[in-house]
């Protein structure tokens, strides 16, 4: 999987799933409320019929003159009557209580209740309340099950869709990747040939003008060589085995400073190295070389002409300080983003600091960057 591809997949999946979920939730919630309304409606209808039955019975009972009246009772439901001041007159169930109920229809403890007004007031009854066992609205569990199945199907289709959409992009990246790999590989031989041949040219046999030209060719070749090494590091980073050995940082710094001297001299920059003690550091030689090379080439690249670059090595720190154009605070924060270049007038691909960060992280080296615009940048590595 390519860098950023996972992120894209997550974003697309997140967006697709959340919108589908929202749609499913809206449909299901609406459906649930619709079913609940229908259910309430049918329950109300039934309760109304039962209220009518009771009213008829009360009316009949009221017509008779007697010392005692038997309150009508039904098997299908319980009932109660209240006077106009909501005082209980008679009830067939202990659970019925309308003192706190605001709605005419309500459900409580798996019972449905309907309060209906009554006129005339048979036996003083101004309100009839019917209580019956509610039927269960069983659709919620089914809805949840259907929702889970729909979400799983959506998830599978969305993964399939994302893969389908990303395929052309993936193929293009693969093509580009293999092109860069092949090109990089092909660059190795000519660069090595140029640099080796320049080294073998006898400088005493050349006039001053030719020597200057040769020097320029050498610097340009070194720059290409640096870019080549960076590309190799980025392309083969995870595929090459790391060989950590005890490195003498002082020695390595001397070599790298010497290697960059030509490049620095072209801008009339003095590379001042202060490394008095031998410092041992266990790391992969190639990686440490990339780290130092990138720091030095950046310092040279962004330094003003005729300035100094100070390289100071201590037991636990390596400090490289230039007198260049520097960076703003915001630029410093974004510096480790790959392919980001603040100054487009300078060459390069913006890979330098991202390589520095990757290697530093691997060897638990802390990077501190202090930079002031138009004054310079100080990079301190501490371990």
């Amino acid at each position: 999987m390519y860098r950023g591809e996972k992120k894209t997949i997550f974003y697309v999946l997140g967006l697709y799933l959340s919108s589908t979920l929202l749609l499913i939730t809206t449909i299901f919630v609406s459906y649930y409320y619709y079913e609940r309304d229908q259910f309430e409606h049918s329950e109300k209808d039934l309760l109304k019929k039962q209220t009518f039955l009771l009213t008829q019975q009360l009316s009949k009972l009221n017509e008779n003159s007697s010392d005692r009246y038997k309150y009508p009772r039904f098997d299908e439901f319980e009932s109660a009557i209240y006077d106009i001041d909501k005082n209980l007159i008679f009830s067939t169930s202990k659970d019925i209580d309308i003192t706190n109920s605001k709605d005419s229809f309500f459900t409580k403890d798996s019972n449905s209740y309907l309060i209906s007004p009554l006129t005339p007031y048979y036996f003083g009854a101004a309100f009839i309340i019917i209580e019956k066992k509610s039927k269960n609205l069983d659709i919620l569990n089914n809805l949840i099950f259907i929702a889970i199945v729909t979400i799983i199907i959506t998830l599978i289709t969305s993964i399939f869709l994302v893969n389908l959409v990303l395929k052309p992009m993936r193929d293009n990246i693969k093509l580009l990747d293999s092109f860069i790999k092949d090109t990089t590989h092909e660059l190795n031989t000519p660069i090595t040939a140029i640099l080796t041949n320049i080294e073998t040219i006898n400088s005493s046999s050349c006039d001053e003008k030719t020597l200057r030209k040769l020097q320029r060719i050498k610097i340009a070749s070194q720059s290409i060589s640096n870019i080549y090494e960076d590309l190799v590091y980025l392309l083969l980073n995870h595929k090459t085995s790391t060989q950590n050995i005890d490195l003498n940082l002082r020695e390595m710094l001397y070599q790298r400073v010497e290697y960059f001297t030509n490049m620095a001299t072209a801008k009339n920059i003095d590379l001042l190295l202060d490394a008095k003690e031998d410092i041992d550091f266990k790391a992969d030689k190639k990686k440490m070389q990339r780290l130092i090379d990138n720091l030095l080439s950046n310092a040279i690249k962004y330094s003003y002409k005729s300035t100094n670059i100070r390289v100071v090595l201590n037991e636990t720190t390596l400090c490289i300080e230039d007198e260049g154009k520097g960076m703003s605070e915001q630029e410093v924060k974004k510096i480790f983003t790959r392919y980001l270049r603040f100054d487009k007038s300078q060459g390069g691909f913006g890979m330098g600091y991202s390589i520095i960060k990757a290697i530093a992280d691997e060897y638990e080296i802390k990077i501190d960057i202090v930079s002031k615009e138009t004054q310079g940048t100080k990079v301190t590595l501490s371990w």
Partner: protein, 108 residues
């Protein structure tokens, strides 16, 4: 103690009942259909409080609009005369009447 209390209770009830006989049966004969009047009041006023209040208001100041009897009946027999009883006694008599004839206590 219980016996003494029961005795006083029975005494007060019998006294109340005799008071009711004296104050009501003076004008209404024994065959007066008290339960029909109570039924009409219950059908119209529902609660004990409202029934008693309506009865009191009617007996204190009888009028056509306060009466629960049909218009034809009133036209034939005329309106009842104003009760000569004082407010306290009238209310006590209404209480006894309600106690004896209310429909709600007859439900079982």
């Amino acid at each position: 103690m219980v016996k003494i209390l029961s005795f006083f209770l029975l005494l007060s009830l019998s006294l109340g009942a005799s008071e009711f006989d004296k104050n009501c049966f003076d004008c209404h004969s024994q065959d007066f259909k008290f339960h029909i009047i109570m039924n009409k009041y219950t059908l119209k006023f529902s609660s004990e409080k409202r029934i008693k209040e309506a009865m009191f208001n009617y007996l204190r100041e009888p009028s056509l609009d306060k009466s629960i009897l049909p218009l034809e009946y009133i036209q034939k027999f005329g309106l009842k005369e104003k009760s000569p009883l004082d407010d306290k006694t009238l209310r006590e008599m209404i209480d006894i009447y309600y106690e004896k004839f209310n429909l709600q206590s007859k439900l079982f």
